[in-house]
């Protein structure tokens, strides 16, 4: 197996050039897919026989929740890569991804709360899913705060990588413990998974929306990483030429 891609990925210059070709396209595809998925879900998917129209919040809630967790997983992997191989791109990735993940967690929390009011009669329940997304949101905010506070770049890299890896180790423990705690306190009456399986024309738009969110996030992440690369590699000739000549 060839490891060239791995080394290439570690080079900020290569990544910049590669992502320049793809970022906009990926973002636009994401935007399109999100609009299709969400629009379909909002206007064309059938009414849920239990929750009526309110369930249509799912087309935002689920993609955001999925992305909030995927982003955190990717942060953990990047942290590990940095600690083991000191790859330059890893902290750039972490720094760019953390705010996106935080936004996704925030969307999941807010949409969950608004969904909760008409269906459960309350804005918030200490449901296992909600609680673990809340913890996730706090973890994201911690990483962002750490990056903003530590002024030494190398130290900030190291610290963010360590917290990401710890989070990766800890996330399953947190999820498990919260699940466990939740079943002790109250029966899980509001579980999404207990609902009868969704009909095809309900979950297909959901699938498209999830894919759309993934692409949207990927595009945004590439743009943010590009800015971070320019900033960090400002002393190299290629960045100087890029900035001065084509204004990027």
């Amino acid at each position: 197996m060839s490891w060239i891609w791995f080394h290439k990925l570690g080079s900020p210059k290569w990544f910049y050039q590669w992502s320049s070709k793809w970022a906009t396209a990926v973002f636009l595809i994401g935007l399109l897919a999100t609009l299709i998925g969400v629009g379909w879900g909002l206007g064309f998917a059938p009414t849920d026989y239990q929750q009526g129209e309110t369930y249509r919040i799912i087309y935002l809630h689920v993609p955001a929740a999925v992305l909030a967790e995927s982003c955190y997983f990717s942060l953990g992997v990047a942290g590990f890569v940095y600690l083991v191989w000191q790859m330059k791109m890893a902290p750039i990735f972490i720094k760019s991804m953390a705010p996106i993940g935080a936004a996704m967690a925030a969307i999941a929390l807010l949409s969950g709360a608004i969904w909760g009011k008409p269906t459960w009669g309350t804005w918030w329940v200490w449901d296992a899913r909600l609680t673990s997304v809340l913890v996730l949101f706090i973890l994201y905010m911690g990483i962002i705060a750490l990056q903003n506070t530590l002024e030494d770049v190398t130290l900030a890299n190291q610290a963010a990588a360590i917290v990401s890896v710890l989070g990766l180790i800890n996330l399953p423990i947190i999820k498990y413990s919260v699940n466990w705690w939740n079943t002790l306190h109250q029966p899980a009456s509001f579980s999404l998974t207990k609902k009868p399986t969704m009909p095809m024309d309900m979950w297909l738009p959901l699938l498209i929306a999830v894919i759309g969110f993934y692409c949207l996030v990927a595009g945004l992440a590439m743009w943010r990483m590009q800015s971070e690369i320019l900033l960090r590699e400002r002393r190299t000739q290629w960045v100087k030429e890029k900035v001065m000549n084509d204004g990027v």
């Binding site: 706090i138 911690g142 506070t149 030494d152 130290l155 710890l166 180790i169 423990i173 947190i174 466990w180």
Partner: protein
């Protein structure tokens, strides 16, 4: 420098600055007192909540006091000397955290029965509470040590450190209070203690290494 001489020096240093430990214990006492004052002093509320109250107070006093674990050694340059001593940094960290754990947990374990009484904790739960403290708090200290190292170079790092570290305490607090609840309902709690032990063991393996990485990046 040898591991033994470092251990001795750590014990001496902590003994000289015992006020730090006393402050942390007073903080623990105050947080415990807040609950009857702020919520409800009746036994109906306190008895089932006692385990949780004591655990929250313990976790808070650990996270707040461990923040300064490396601050002084960072300021006076001894932390750098530890890094360049040629001894294994993770082991030195383990010694440091271990000494601090002993110094703080021994009095805390002695205080706990008193507070358990004041919070009307049933006496059969007390032993489980003590067991969870004994098994679970090493995890708190070890994870806290990582946070302390992350923010060692910051003057105003306390809040950041609490924000970073407290979420990692959630599982420990959940399993501990669950074990205390379990005995109150007459359910088996051995599995929960095992889970706590597993978390502490995991922290024992991971935390010294992570802490040493942070310290090495901080002392440059």
């Amino acid at each position: 420098m040898t591991y033994l001489s470092f251990f001795k020096a750590e014990c001496l240093t902590l003994f000289r600055s015992k006020q730090r430990v006393v402050n942390a214990l007073l903080f623990f006492v105050l947080v415990v007192v807040l609950f009857p004052l702020g919520i409800d002093p009746s036994a109906d509320f306190l008895a089932p909540a006692a385990g949780g109250i004591i655990w929250c107070a313990a976790a808070l006093s650990v996270v707040v006091s461990i923040e300064s674990l490396y601050k002084e050694s960072y300021a006076d340059g001894t932390l750098t000397q530890l890094v360049v001593s040629g001894l294994s940094l993770p082991w030195l960290i383990l010694i440091k955290v271990g000494v601090y754990w002993l110094a703080m947990m021994l009095p805390l374990l002695l205080l706990t029965p008193v507070f358990a009484q004041m919070l009307f904790l049933p006496s059969d739960s007390l032993l489980v509470l003590l067991a969870t403290l004994l098994i679970g708090t090493p995890g708190l200290f070890l994870i806290g040590s990582i946070g302390a190292a992350l923010t060692v170079s910051l003057k105003q790092g306390a809040m950041l450190m609490v924000l970073l570290i407290l979420p990692f305490y959630f599982p420990i607090i959940i399993f501990s209070t669950a074990a205390i609840k379990a005995i109150q309902f007459g359910l088996p709690y051995g599995g929960l203690l095992a889970l706590l032990a597993a978390i502490s063991l995991l922290a024992l393996v991971v935390a010294p290494v992570m802490t040493s990485l942070c310290i090495k990046a901080s002392v440059r």
